[in-house]
């Protein structure tokens, strides 16, 4: 297995007026090709910061981080990843298909390539028929699906997702989770997924990275032994609950459940 993301002694400190904030401290992690890795932890544990560091949206202050053997900057310039934000961040003046075309326009794909990719990714996220709609005409769940399609459109092998379903209600979230698994299976992509929901992390992942705050660090890495085929009711099985319990233990070991003063 080839490693897609590799972090060694990675640290990141934000300088603020109130003193330094250690967002990441001594993070060692390898993510292999085709894995579905969830990052879970309370707010302030650095899970989003880690994702942003992979995406070259933040610069690490110590340690090394490579993506496909390249620096984050090189990886970004070679368009190695697609990023899905917490909010859909669709451009309101563009139709759904034009929003998906945005990265393709920027990367200089031809009109025919654009049309072909828009069709393919819209099929993939079950949005066919909504090409000419504007974002405000779609529900929150559909908007987030469009933003996933946008991240998939240019065929990056790595998909970075920062709490993409955090703002959605649980019914829509369950539905999108199972769709995301199918999509992952169909595209064979490597996915890094930030969440603060334990069931979501266990349901989706092949590997769960438990993080804790002050300083932001990795407290446990759990390999999931759940089968690849995961119906939604897998969440009532003992295996599922055992992994969820271990995630909870990891969070507790990182003092994540303690009252913060």
């Amino acid at each position: 297995m080839t490693s897609v993301v590799s972090a060694e002694h990675l640290g990141l400190t934000f300088k603020t007026n109130d003193g330094d904030v250690i967002a990441l401290s001594d993070v060692n992690l390898t993510i292999n090709k085709g894995e579905f890795v969830s990052f879970i932890g309370p707010s302030g544990c650095g899970k989003t910061t880690f994702l942003r560091t992979i995406a070259d949206l933040e610069r690490p202050t110590s340690g090394t981080l490579t993506i496909n053997g390249q620096t984050p900057d090189q990886a970004r310039k070679s368009r190695a990843y697609g990023y899905v934000f917490q909010a859909p961040a669709l451009y309101p003046w563009r139709t759904i298909e034009k929003n998906i075309a945005l990265p393709l326009e920027i990367m200089g794909y031809s009109q025919t390539q654009q049309a072909e990719r828009i069709k393919r990714t819209m099929d993939l996220v079950n949005l066919s028929g909504f090409e000419k709609k504007y974002p405000w005409q779609l529900s929150g769940g559909m908007q987030q699906r469009a933003s996933i399609a946008r991240a998939l459109a240019f065929d990056a092998d790595l998909l970075l997702m920062d709490e993409p379903f955090g703002a959605l209600d649980e019914i829509v979230r369950d539905h999108l989770n199972s769709e995301l698994l199918k999509l992952w299976d169909a595209t064979k992509k490597t996915i890094c997924f930030v969440t603060h929901s334990i069931p979501e992390a266990v349901y989706l992942s092949t590997k769960i990275v438990v993080m804790s705050p002050r300083p932001g660090r990795v407290t446990d890495v759990i390999e999931s032994n759940l089968p690849k085929e995961r119906p939604l009711d897998i969440r009532e099985t003992p295996e599922f609950l055992a992994i969820a319990a271990r995630v909870r233990d990891g969070l507790r070991a990182g003092h994540s459940y303690e009252e913060t003063v």
Binding site: L57, A89, W93, I106, W136
Partner: protein
């Protein structure tokens, strides 16, 4: 306000025992009233627009056109200048810090003090140095004052507009490794559109004020400002009021025109119908 004059008229004509109704009617129909009534003003408006050929100097349409052409030219120059400055300010922190105080300072100078200077100097430079005929030179001088007044709201509005995209929308462009010009045309510019039209509406009204001010103190013979000035020289209050109404109608039409363009742009950008 017209009572004193009316009493003088009665005294001179040895007219006594005027009924209250007659008195009021007479004050409403003086030839040179201090305060004209609505029917006099609208009568003058009607006479000076519909009943006079639009190419005669007595026609308000003629004067409105002269003022409008200076306004339009000045508005165009001011908008382009304002947008250009905003683009520079958003993309360069040094320019932001060095230019912004000057832009604000420029608007603290009373335009009424500056207008004669600009018109006289501008007119002489245009006719002398560049050898431009007098009419276009006069137009250009007024347009400069228009532009001077209108670039400010446009610049301030556009700076705000070009900075309006959210952090994640900018991050998104960063993850695509988009060039600054791609970020500008695909994100900042369309995001700034609502701000642009709000400030254009302020700007177009300011342009009109600029053009009229440019006509006031400089002995201009044509334009609504010249009409206002001539009216006040000859105590033609009806003419002043008619010119004022013509100016406000022109301003309303200009703002409506900007609004129409805004609606067309909104529709093409898929804005949610309000």
């Amino acid at each position: 306000m017209n009572a004193q004059w009316q009493n003088d008229v009665y005294r001179r004509g040895d007219i006594a025992n005027v009924s209250a109704t007659q008195f009021v009617l007479d004050t409403w129909n003086q030839e040179k009233p201090v305060l004209p009534t609505a029917h006099q003003v609208f009568g003058e408006l009607w006479n000076a627009t519909v009943l006079v050929a639009p190419n005669k100097p007595r026609s308000l349409v003629f004067h409105a056109w002269v003022t409008f052409s200076a306004t339009a030219l000045g508005f165009l120059m001011g908008s382009v200048l304002g947008i250009g400055l905003a683009v520079l300010i958003v993309h360069n922190e040094a320019i932001n810090r060095s230019l912004m105080p000057w832009i604000v300072a420029s608007q603290t100078i009373p335009i009424l003090a500056l207008a004669p200077l600009i018109v006289v100097i501008g007119f002489n430079i245009f006719t002398g140095t560049f050898g431009i005929p007098t009419d276009p030179a006069r137009l250009m001088s007024k347009a400069i004052i228009s532009a001077y007044l209108s670039f400010f709201p446009v610049a301030v509005g556009m700076v705000k507009g070009l900075r309006s995209p959210e952090a994640i929308q900018l991050d998104l462009m960063h993850t695509y490794n988009a060039s600054p010009s791609q970020t500008f045309w695909k994100l900042r510019w369309p995001a700034a559109m609502p701000f642009l039209f709000a400030s254009l509406k302020v700007g177009v009204a300011a342009s009109l004020v600029g053009a009229i001010v440019g006509e006031l103190p400089t002995g201009a013979v044509a334009g609504l400002g010249a009409r206002l000035l001539a009216g006040s020289y000859y105590s033609q209050t009806v003419q002043i009021w008619a010119a004022l109404f013509a100016a406000s109608i022109l301003a309303a039409l200009l703002v409506i025109a900007v609004g129409v363009v805004e609606r067309l742009v909104n529709r093409s950008m898929g804005a949610r119908p309000a």
